[in-house]
């Protein structure tokens, strides 16, 4: 067997905190000083002597990760948000460079998530296939030979010469996916594929992944969905805080992951080292998704209300604080944003929050979500003054639609929300 991927002691260090400090003006004086010193700062930055180093935190998103993967194997990667899974995939697909270590990759790396990169709304479906194919590294002749197959797969045959800006989002996604799926790379990287698109689309993705694996290609599969990992991979690695904890047959790795507490369903816990120093005096502790019976869960039912609980500590009194949730789909479309002091009375009542331990809790009513996977981002700020803490991707959860309106028809339904509306059928003649 030949080795498809060989990863040796790679690490990736990120700078964080610089951007926030730059825009955290408190006083006009700061602004003036900043403006006057700007040219000097620019000159310093350009020759590499940044004076902002003081404010910068460095974190290792990935540290000391090594593994080999043989050709034709399917490897699962599990770990909670921020464990370094995406960073690892980004390094393997050469989007970003490792800070240390080496990787050798035999063949072309493709991904099923980069669908539609480089699509231009003004170009037709046909033109975008060529454009997107070239971006993904396909030769023109290769695209020519697969063109009909791509069009068939995408099911947009009759609109192929229409600008894609006239496409529905489903058509757009299908076409984009069709190109990515026909890239036929030697190594395929699938990041959270189950989270993208509707149920039908997900099935297609998984089907394609199965095909790819059967053809003897190498697949790396990242998912939060343990059952998909179990079904599709023989082996998995567990990442935690950028480090590889284990590599084992999938069942063993998943058991370890689920029992080690780091994957605790429906719950995200921030350790001291997870929180940037710049957040002080705000210190996030945990975020929980709870079902009707108060249990933290990974999957909630659309037909039941859901409670989102954010626990935090204030190490100094904070004036004008608002703590909020950003709810979005895995594709990054926002569903809603909400803050604990949205009600003016509550805002006045909690004008200044003293030092102490708090929970901000919101109940999301029943009959809200459609089927799918959603993420919640948290944010703590004082409006117009400063942002203390932000985690755009704090936790993810699944929505199960059992009991939701219209589920007696076994078909996927479009849309992000699935409310129970007061329908009325009146016979008027």
């Amino acid at each position: 067997m030949t080795t498809a991927i060989s990863v040796k002691n790679i690490g990736k260090q990120y700078k964080i905190g610089a951007a926030e400090s730059k825009f955290r003006y408190n006083m006009l004086r700061d602004v003036i000083v900043d403006t006057v010193s700007a040219p000097i700062r620019l000159a310093k930055a350009m020759i590499g002597k940044s004076d902002r180093r003081m404010n910068q935190n460095y974190v290792w998103a990935l540290k000391d990760v090594s593994f080999d993967l043989e050709e034709g194997k399917v490897l699962g990667i599990v770990g909670r948000n921020g464990a370094g899974k995406s960073t690892l995939l980004k390094i393997l697909s050469r989007v970003t460079e490792p800070t240390v270590g080496t990787v050798s990759v035999r063949g072309r790396v493709g991904s099923l998530l980069e669908v539609g990169t480089g699509f231009h709304p003004e170009l037709t479906g046909r033109e975008n296939i060529y454009m997107n194919g070239a971006i993904l590294g396909m030769r023109r002749a290769e695209i020519d030979s697969k063109f009909d197959e791509i069009v068939d797969f995408s099911e947009v045959t009759q609109y192929i010469d229409t600008p894609v800006k006239r496409y529905s989002s489903g058509m757009y996604l299908r076409l984009a996916f069709a190109v990515a799926a026909h890239l036929e790379p030697e190594i395929l990287v699938v990041d959270e594929v189950l989270a993208v698109g509707d149920a039908e689309f997900q099935k297609k993705c998984l089907g394609k992944m199965g095909d790819v694996a059967q053809q003897g290609r190498t697949v790396l599969f990242v998912s939060h969905n343990m059952s998909a990992i179990l079904r599709l991979t023989q082996e998995a690695i567990v990442l935690n805080k950028g480090q590889m904890l284990m590599r084992a047959p999938t069942q063993e790795a998943v058991d370890f992951y689920l029992s080690s507490g780091q994957a605790q369903a429906g719950q995200r816990v921030w350790d001291v080292e997870d929180v940037p120093a710049a957040s002080a005096p705000f210190r996030p502790i945990s975020l929980k998704i709870k079902n009707r019976s108060g249990k933290a869960v990974d999957t909630v039912r659309s037909a039941e209300p859901v409670t989102v609980e954010f626990e935090y500590q204030l190490n100094a009194p904070v004036t004008g604080l608002r703590v909020g949730f950003y709810l979005s789909t895995m594709r990054g479309e926002y569903v809603l944003a909400t803050f604990d002091t949205d009600e003016p009375q509550l805002f006045e009542k909690h004008d200044t929050r003293n030092t102490g331990h708090y929970i901000s809790r919101a109940e999301i009513p029943a009959d809200m979500f459609n089927e799918g996977r959603y993420t919640i981002g948290v944010n703590a700020s004082s409006f117009g003054v400063r942002r203390y803490f932000m985690d755009e991707n704090a936790i993810a959860f699944n929505v199960d639609i059992t009991g939701a309106p219209g589920t007696h028809w076994p078909e996927p339904r479009v849309g992000l929300v699935r409310p129970r509306l007061n329908w009325d059928i009146e016979k008027i003649g």
Partner: protein
């Protein structure tokens, strides 16, 4: 199902690049078709949903030329070394137009395509390169206008343009690309570039003999003046096409030297910053 692969896969080594990283021109060659597609897309999309379409490629330089003619010929009466001012300025507007595209599109190319940069691998050099190349399409259209203008005003082209013009065009591309490399890479981290561009474009236009003749610059300032590489490019175009000016002398070498310096340093700066593009953009 199509067969697995037509070629034996080659192994890619990924490791942190150090110092002045190798330019990795091999990858650029592998992805050469992407340059073509990017240029093709830019051209295709540029005039979509416009009433006048490709006519804009004609209207823009012609209008500029007419404004210049009114201001600098009719009002200011600047010397043009015996060439009708229309032809004199239009000759300069050719390379200048190419440069402006590079300056504006090129500098914004990485930031404008940040979704590509953060999601997939491809040689990042392709972005500034293809924006400069897409300027060549407008250049070709404007060139046809110039030929028509020269016929109309009965200006005889210089005999040596067949081999000198391609060289000066190459110099224009090298200069434009060099500046685009620097600015696009800086723009990833400091969006100040976006703010500075309108001013920079304007300033550079005044510092380049587009609307006027380089001969109006006093002799003792000539060498200093030609530190602006575009001055050499524009002067070269005039000499090559119209046979005016001094031809290759010390000023041209100064401009060419600076141009190559900007280009080569730009390449290395771009390469050294490339590894952080996806993280900082």
């Amino acid at each position: 199902m199509t067969q697995l692969t037509k070629h034996e896969p080659h192994t890619i080594y990924i490791k942190p690049s150090k110092g002045l990283a190798a330019l990795n021109l091999r990858d650029l060659w592998v992805y050469r078709e992407l340059i073509f597609f990017m240029v093709w897309r830019d051209v295709k999309v540029k005039y979509k949903q416009t009433l006048l379409g490709m006519a804009w490629a004609v209207i823009q330089p012609v209008m500029t030329m007419l404004v210049f003619t009114f201001l600098f010929d009719k009002v200011a009466k600047l010397p043009t070394e015996g060439i009708p001012y229309q032809v004199f300025s239009f000759t300069a507007l050719l390379p200048w137009g190419l440069f402006v595209v590079a300056l504006n599109q090129g500098s914004r190319s990485l930031v404008a395509h940040n979704n590509m940069v953060t999601k997939i691998y491809f040689p990042r050099l392709i972005l500034p390169i293809s924006s400069v190349f897409s300027g060549l399409v407008d250049f070709a259209i404007a060139f046809v206008i110039l030929v028509i203008l020269m016929f109309y005003y009965q200006v005889t082209p210089a005999w040596n343009l067949l081999w000198t013009l391609p060289l000066f065009l190459l110099l224009a591309i090298v200069t434009a690309l060099g500046v685009a490399l620097w600015l696009s890479a800086i723009n990833v981290q400091y969006r100040d570039v976006n703010q500075a561009l309108p001013f920079l474009t304007q300033f550079w236009l005044f510092a380049t003999p587009v609307a006027y003749s380089a001969s109006v610059i006093p002799a003792k300032w000539q060498v200093l003046y030609f530190l602006n590489p575009m001055a050499g490019v524009v002067n070269g175009f005039r000499w090559s096409l119209l046979g005016v000016g001094s031809g290759p002398d010390i000023t041209l070498w100064v401009s060419t030297g600076i141009s190559i310096l900007i280009f080569v340093s730009g390449l290395f700066y771009f390469r050294s910053m490339e590894k952080t593009f996806a993280d900082t953009i």
